[in-house]
């Protein structure tokens, strides 16, 4: 019975040292969940269908260009978003075969039907391509958001794809959640559009805008009262230049009033287009539009060579800085919406930590006092096993890199209550065996071996529930499930193996004929 006692003590010591080494120093090794350290947890959904639509629109433009280059005359070429098709209507039936020839280059499209009058063709975007576009939208969106967050400066952010079209963003310790949301969530589609000065804005507002024009608004927000006013603009629908040709964006300050603005730099293609547009439209107004919001619409004074432009508006310097970050990081390939947002301020997190620790200490103390009182010396063994259990739990948490959450703390507390159960099972069994008249040694032997099966069965069912919880839970709940799982495993080790070894140690030294239990 005592033969391998040395080895058992040794292995227990190794496990303890291992756990301590893993968990020391606590502050560095145990990471806190967002609910404890404060921060922001966002789940975004990428509107991938928008990316598909944009891509279909681009294809339609390319096809128009190709057909025009062949000197063929088309009636209309239209992207139909609903069924992801492009309808081509020609003026002359003789032009159909060359169009079909052109369309052979567009391998991602498949012809689905031909109009009965021989003038029209319908092409459909292949499903593989649709999937590809959607996947790209999500992965590019992720990259863009990562760029923005990196420039915003948050330590240890988590940004990852979740499922097919969701992006999880976790920003620990973020101080201004509103700013973070604006920074992450803006699509940042930058467009330059000419103001439609041939038609009347009033007419367009009362009826509908003329063909080829649209109404967009300049949104002005009073920071004090939160009142939002909207000023309408009648703009030409055609985008003359987009943010894709940007090479840089930075905050500058206006010399006269010290007002911040964002200075833009275009690449050579962008610079060329910008030069051309400004040259041909002197004294007209050019609107700078971001995500369908008009930022400003200055009058073009002169042709602007060199590829420089600026966005002015009523910015605070923070606004301007964020706008520059967004423009530098580039536009999201598709807009995103927030599906879930959980933000905890730092003071509440600290409050939760304090309360959690208080309840661990208080609950633990109650259990310890009760067990010592009830089981005397054997109770002391149980308490030692229990504290060991918490050491192991901490070590395991550090090893798995599991973040400690508020429900996780509750899991630890619950483990304390339930870990004692294994000891209680053994001790009650030993008492019964003693009552049956067995010697102390035999009673301990029988107590442990009979209780063991019960302990395993009872704990495994709780374990099953905890594993399921881990599978389905998110964030804090996962933390709870992990602590519960580890706690159960640790309690089986401490209550059965460690307590048994302690019992054997005391028995060997004293050769007791009475047990303090």
């Amino acid at each position: 019975m005592y033969k391998n006692l040395k080895w058992r003590i040794l292995s227990i010591l190794i496990v303890i040292f291992g756990a301590v080494a893993l968990a020391y120093p606590l502050k560095e090794k145990i990471s806190l969940g967002l609910d404890l350290q404060g921060g922001m947890h966002l789940v975004l959904e990428v509107k991938v269908e928008k990316a598909v639509e944009a891509s279909l629109e681009r294809f339609a433009d390319d096809i128009k260009r190709d057909i025009g280059e062949e000197d063929l005359e088309f009636d209309r070429i239209k992207a139909i978003f609903k069924n992801l098709q492009i309808n081509i209507r020609m003026v002359d039936a003789f032009d159909l075969p060359p169009v079909k020839k052109i369309m052979e280059d567009y391998v991602v499209f498949k012809m689905v039907s031909e109009d009965s009058d021989g003038l029209g063709l319908v092409y459909e975007l292949g499903q593989d391509q649709v999937k590809q576009i959607q996947q790209n939208a999500v992965s590019q969106g992720l990259e863009t958001i990562r760029n923005r967050v990196d420039q915003f400066g948050v330590s240890e952010p988590t940004i990852q794809v979740q499922g097919e079209r969701r992006i999880l963003v976790q920003l620990p310790g973020v101080k201004d959640p509103e700013r973070a949301i604006n920074l992450i969530g803006k699509t940042a589609r930058l467009e330059f559009k000419l103001v439609d000065e041939e038609n009347s804005l009033q007419e367009a507002l009362s009826a509908s805008p003329p063909e080829g024009s649209e109404i967009l608004y300049q949104r002005k927000e009073d920071k004090e009262t939160g009142l939002v006013t909207k000023e309408p603009y009648l703009l030409k629908q055609r985008t003359v230049l987009t943010g894709e040709t940007l090479t840089g964006a930075e905050v500058r300050f206006d010399g006269d009033f010290n007002e911040p603005y964002v200075a833009l730099n275009f690449n050579s293609v962008g610079a060329m287009i910008f030069h051309e547009v400004t040259r041909e439209n002197i004294r007209k107004r050019l609107a700078i539009v971001l995500d369908d919001n008009v930022y400003s619409a200055p009058v073009i004074q002169d042709a602007i060579p060199g590829g420089r432009a600026q966005i002015t508006g009523q910015f605070t310097s923070e606004d301007a800085r964020d706008l520059a970050i967004i423009l530098r990081a580039g536009a999201l390939p598709a807009p995103v919406v927030i599906l879930e947002n959980r933000t905890v301020g730092p003071s509440l997190g600290q409050d939760s930590i304090n309360k959690g620790i208080n309840s661990i200490i208080f609950g633990g103390a109650l259990v310890v006092i009760f067990i010592l009182f009830y089981y005397k010396l054997s109770g002391a063994i149980a308490v030692t096993a229990l504290s060991l259990n918490i050491v192991l739990l901490t070590g395991a948490l550090a090893y798995f890199g599991a973040a400690l959450t508020l429900p996780g703390i509750a899991g630890i507390i619950l483990t304390v209550g339930m870990a004692i159960d294994a000891n209680v099972l053994v001790f009650e069994r030993i008492r019964e065996e003693i009552k049956l008249g067995k010697t102390v040694r035999a009673a301990i032997e029988a107590g442990f071996s009979k209780a063991f099966r019960t302990i395993v069965d009872a704990n495994i069912t709780t374990f099953i529930a905890a594993v399921v919880l881990f599978q389905f839970g998110t964030g804090p709940i996962k933390g709870f499930a992990i602590t519960l799982c580890i706690g159960i495993a640790a309690s089986m080790f401490t209550a059965v193996f460690v307590s048994r070894t302690f019992f054997d140690c005391t028995m060997r030294q004293k050769k007791l004929d009475q047990l303090s239990i």
């Binding site: 959640p177 927030i338 905890a466």
Partner: protein
Amino acid sequence: MQLFKHETRFDFMGKIKAAMIISGIVILIGLGSIVFSGGLKYGIDFAGGTLVQLQFKSPPDIEVIRDGLKTIGLGESTIQEFGSKKDILIRVERSEEKLEAVGAMVKRSLSGKFNSDEIIVERVEMVGPKVGRDLREKALLSILYAVIGIVIYISWRFEFQYAIAAIIALMHDVLVTMGAFSILDKEFTLVIVAAFLTIIGYSLNDTIVVFDRIRENLRRKGKLSLSEIINSSINQTLSRTLLTSGTTLLVVLALFFFGGEIIHDFSFALLVGVFVGTYSSIFIASVFLVYWASRKTAHR
């Protein structure tokens, strides 16, 4: 020290009828309350919506907050104190899909009424309707999977009828706790589902200890009937059952009183669950074992 000096000889099986009636009434009251209040009261995790927790320097007037909120039109809102008079929890129906920071909006809407550095936005939780639906589905599935896993395990270690008896006992626990939540007008959230799964695990733990003893006693049964064996098994494990429930209750009580407002409902669910779980492993699970056995013998 011992809870009981000698092995107890309580006649648990004789009290079964009374226990069934009490359980039945409690469950009926709970279900009645759920039906009466038009189903379970979902928190934002399952229903979607936004929660904003604010801390004020000094206790604010809730009516003033209500007036302020009207200006931004966030839909139906409920405003309540959260733990102290300075902490206010605002729940609005709308979720902020459109990239608005509701927390900041709420704070701004109150800026005419309160000094803005008197208000701290402590917590914002927004769940969109789509995610709410997902989470609801996941929560139901998780309970289902847990139950299936447990049935398989118990059927393997014991027998199928033990598994069914255990499941009935834990359904009893969940129903009673759910009823308590409905009567006290508490909300169902993800964390509460976590508490329910813990209760399931805990209640089973208790039940299995009793079953294990029944199985052991059945092996060396003399002329005792099943009912008598079950009764003495419950008696033999009684002090263990009470001790473990006692220690678990101690820590759950600590959590309930010192754990803070955020996990208050969670600890409440555990409190009820541990209490009911102990009761059900003594009275409910065993009843169905006896019932099952008597039907078997009647068939013979």
